[in-house]
Amino acid sequence: MSNTYRALVCCRAGMGSSAMLKIKCEQVINEEGYPISCEQGSLEDLAKFDGDLVITMSDFAEELAKEGKVAHVVSIRNIVDKKEIKGQLDAFLAEKSE
């Protein structure tokens, strides 16, 4: 698998929650060797984003899913729970490999 998927980790401000979420996601991605690269941003960056995956806190994810703007939304409830993050990223990668 040579393709690297582009993920945007975002929250409303693009500053606090998203920064912490990106740190934790990158820990999981590095440990597991997933072909995913993370960028961080706000809602404004989201409007311009043309990558593969959006990772966000769950309340935002519901909003995004409703709007149907993004190909795949990963929704994280507990940012310190690596198992939750890994499970969501696994589901994304499984979908991509179908």
Partner: protein, 151 residues
Amino acid sequence: MLSDLLDEKSVRVGVAADDWRSAVRASLQPLVDDGAVEVGYVDDAIAGVEEHGPYFVVCPHVALPHARPESGARRAALGVCVLAEPVSFGAGENDPVKFLFPLSATSADGHLGVLADLVNLLSDERFLPALDSAETPSEVVEAIRTIERSI
């Protein structure tokens, strides 16, 4: 390290709050008093939750009240606010919230180091119990230093 940025003046324990709004205001007030953020920043943090849900409730019992840098952040700052009684943010499994870490940054990547430290602290199972048993701001800072040294 996080404890280097943390000023005891921005640490409060046993804070009374009736609901999530008063908890967010109480947590950010020391940053307002200290000139790190304008009142508009506090208003924007609350407006953000009203509009988008509790996006800064990041794990069980923990919130990081913050807003958009352009709403009135003057410089990077971090505080700790431990509530006397937890409040609901409508955050599902992460409710109720007892520990708040009010945060300001003047740019989106202004203090990634501090946030990385905070993630590591939150990932340490000793962290929240240590905050919960601290009775003064200086005990909070000391508890954070002790855990930081051992991570």
